[in-house]
């Protein structure tokens, strides 16, 4: 009974997920179509770009990157500048997880026997 229900739910999620992914593939344009951007030209002349009709966030980021951050690695520019605040949160996640693991793995003998019971 439980197994059947589980399998049915998973099947539903699978079918809907594939439908969504298939739609995303056929009907939605890619998030960044960079084929019209010449990288060498952009490097030689970083201030001349046209962002009047972008097809997404990435278009603007790639074009503006060299002028406004001067980082050769676009991913580093996104990670530490455009979305630097996310990276902040990401490193906090690591710190939280490490502090959490420490708390979990260490023996916590309380000084007095006080605590909740089940």
């Amino acid at each position: 009974m439980k197994r059947t229900l589980t399998l049915m739910s998973l099947l539903i999620i699978l079918i809907c997920g594939v439908a969504a992914a298939r739609f995303a593939f056929y009907a939605i344009p890619v998030t960044y179509d960079g084929s019209d951007v010449n990288v060498v030209e952009l490097y030689n002349n970083p201030t001349h770009y046209d962002t009047s009709n972008p097809d997404g966030v990435a278009d603007i980021i790639v074009k503006e990157n060299l002028e406004k951050t001067m980082a050769a690695n676009n991913v580093a520019a996104v990670v530490f500048d455009f979305r630097g605040y996310d990276t902040l949160g990401e490193s906090f996640i690591l710190l939280t997880a490490i502090a959490g693991s420490f708390v979990i793995l260490s023996h916590s003998h309380k000084k007095e026997e006080k605590g909740g019971e089940a």
């Binding site: 439980k2 739910s9 539903i12 739609f23 966030v57 503006e64 996310d86 710190l95 916590s108």
Partner: protein
């Protein structure tokens, strides 16, 4: 200057967490100073935003790294503090300040306090960041910090029975929820090519594709996990119980409010999905089921904190029901109940913590007669219990009434029978809440005091002060509800329903109009149908009458108890013919009759709450599948 306040408050908490890690892991004085300074300053910074945001109606938008939108695309991360965000931010800062003060006394006997405060500050900062951010991926990152900090704090007293187990369940279910959310975020990025919520809202307005519907279903499921609505509630009950009480209070006051906030943000702001009747029906049914299962499970619990945990789940059901209605009245009621839930549930958890601190147990069978030993705690508990049960002068009554009114209005307007049933369920649940709090009051504070508890002392002042503040807020919010409505609830509900402002403030004037988003203005909610004074008088009359009956019958009852009744057919129904002295019903079993009548129901329910983590995962997957199917079939 004022636009820096939100990010400064969040960063202050995170920096304080690091300072505790660096300087305070061995020195209690330094640690407590850092924590209290950070909590107080963050609270002041957020309270300072009330005047510009709530009263003058500004929306603070703040782009990290000055990455302003280019050609209508938001390239950076933005903070956007509108009235809804600020409403939840106020709840968050109040809760964590009080919890911090309470921890100073309550946690003083534990080890690894440096890590406790690090995680506590991380949790506070992440929830504060979550409610104020305007970027959906940043929201996800903050959810993850929140989940990890919650898990670690749940398992903090890892020599306790079940703390590790509760932490593991929480982590598995929470991670599944987070993965759903992240998948949804990824699909939304594929659909919208942006991660800013305001821009997504404009792009997705009346423009739902299979991809975005799948994303909606997954994100709703993800936030459902965080707000512990019913099929996802199972780890929450364990976590509330196993965590230290100051953390349980944070869970009830902040963490599940973060889930509720996310629900409102996603359903109202990003997808504008609340004008579709199927989505309303789905959310309302989830809310009603949450209410009912929560309260019925609470009736049979034998542990103080676990009982409160199930009540917490049940009260979140009210909030979800109310926000699922999609009307201004429902949203106002839901937000008011969310606020009141923070206040009274926090208060109740604090009293449970005080009982635990003083006696060392929360098992209802072992407690009793504490009203003489801990009178101040008892009064605070009674205020909380009256509030949660919805008795008139307190805040719970006002918000519950608003919820009933909203559901009833919806039933009348739409003519749908389901909403009428939900109204009845909401009323019944309120009655059952009162019943189960009678049971707790009887089992913990009245009745006979066991011998082991004769030396119980009142809780220390640092634990009593937060309780007093919470009690005062409960009473004040109940008495001055028009002010609360005018300055907090109406602006928040208005900002949730009118996304035009939200979009325009973030992406420039006229952006929303270009994308065809409608401007919706709602009138302030009228508190109709009732007058609290009349109800107060009615209840006073009832109490006096009941008192007279009790006084009048006291002599006879005393006789009955002292002399005993050998055998009387009158009592045979209750005591199955046994002699009275052998068949006393303990405070925690006050509703054994009810339990017996509903034997089949409880057998199924207890079988479902089996404690096996894979079962809980199955419920999570099944509920996600149900949400997905409903969204897919009915929203096309």
């Amino acid at each position: 200057m004022i636009q820096h306040f939100p990010v400064l408050a969040v960063m202050l908490l995170f920096l304080a967490a690091f300072c505790v890690e660096i300087f305070g892991s061995h020195n209690a004085g330094v640690r407590n100073t850092i924590v209290m300074i950070a909590a107080t300053v963050a609270m002041v910074l957020i309270y300072a935003l009330i005047k510009p945001v709530m009263i003058e109606g500004q929306i603070i938008s703040y782009w990290m790294g000055n990455w302003e939108p280019v050609s209508g695309y938001a390239i950076g991360i933005g903070y956007e503090v509108d009235q809804l965000s600020l409403f939840f931010a106020l709840l968050v800062v109040t809760t964590f300040w009080l919890s911090g003060v309470y921890s100073l006394g309550y946690m003083s006997k534990d080890h690894h306090l440096g890590h406790y405060y690090t995680l506590y500050l991380m949790l506070s900062g992440s929830v504060l960041g979550l409610v104020m951010t305007g970027d959906i991926f940043n929201m996800f990152v903050m959810i993850e910090i929140m989940t990890f900090a919650s898990v670690a704090l749940t398992a903090f007293r890892n020599d306790n029975e079940g703390a590790l187990e509760a932490g593991f369940k929480y982590l598995v279910i929470g991670s599944m929820g987070s993965s759903f959310t992240l998948t949804g975020v990824a699909l939304l990025y594929g659909q919208c090519h942006t991660l800013n919520m305001a821009q997504m809202s404009a792009i997705l307005y009346q423009n739902l594709t299979p991809t975005s519907i799948m994303a909606l279903a997954l994100i709703v499921a993800g936030f459902g996990v965080k707000s512990y609505i019913v099929p996802f509630h199972t780890p929450a009950a364990d976590a509330y119980m196993a965590a230290p009480t100051s953390v349980s209070m944070i869970f009830a006051g902040m963490v599940n409010k973060a889930g509720v906030y996310g629900m409102i943000r996603v359903l109202y702001t990003i997808f504008n999905a609340m004008d579709k009747s199927t989505v309303q029906m789905l959310i309302v049914i989830f809310g009603a089921v949450t209410m009912f299962i929560g309260v019925t499970m609470a009736l049979t619990q034998h542990d103080f904190k676990r009982l409160l945990a199930f009540h917490s789940i049940s009260q979140i059901g009210y909030v979800i029901t109310a926000i699922g209605l999609g009307s201004a009245l429902g949203l106002t009621g839901g937000l008011f109940h969310a606020m009141n839930h923070t206040l009274f549930k926090g208060l109740l958890f604090l009293t449970a913590g005080a009982v635990l601190y003083a006696t060392g147990t929360t098992n209802l069978d072992k407690l009793g007669g504490l009203s003489k030993k801990m009178p101040k705690t008892c009064i605070c508990f009674l205020i909380g219990a009256f509030s949660i049960s919805g008795l008139p002068p307190f805040n719970g009554f006002v918000s519950k009434w608003l919820v009933y009114q909203a559901v009833y209005t919806k039933a009348v307007e739409s003519g749908n029978f389901v909403y009428a049933i939900v109204t009845v369920v909401a009323l019944v649940v309120s009655v059952m809440t009162l019943a189960s709090f009678i049971k707790v009051t009887q089992a913990v504070f009245f009745g006979q005091c066991p011998v082991e508890l004769k030396k119980t002392q009142e809780a220390p002042v640092s634990m009593l002060v937060p309780m007093y503040i919470m009690s005062a807020l409960c009473v004040l919010a109940g008495l001055f509800y028009p002010l609360v409505n005018r300055f907090l609830l109406h602006p928040a509900a208005q900002s949730a329903l009118n996304v035009t402002n939200y979009i325009d403030r973030m992406l420039g004037e006229g952006y929303a109009a270009n994308m065809g988003v409608e401007n919706i203005q709602v009138a302030p909610v009228q508190f109709s149908f009732w007058n609290p004074i009349v109800w107060l008088i009615l209840f006073v009359v009832i109490f006096v009458a009941a008192g007279l009956v009790i006084i009048g019958s006291k002599e006879e009852r005393g006789k009955m108890l002292q002399q005993g009744v050998k055998y009387d057919a009158k009592y045979a129904t209750f005591f199955s013919g046994e002699e009275e002295m052998f068949s006393q019903v303990g405070g925690s079993d006050l509703f054994w009759g009810f339990k017996t009548d509903w034997k089949g129901y409880y057998r199924v329910l207890e079988g479902l709450h089996s404690g096996i983590v894979t079962d809980y995962a199955v419920y999570t997957v099944m509920a996600t599948a149900i949400i997905t199917v409903c969204m897919f079939v009915f929203m096309r």
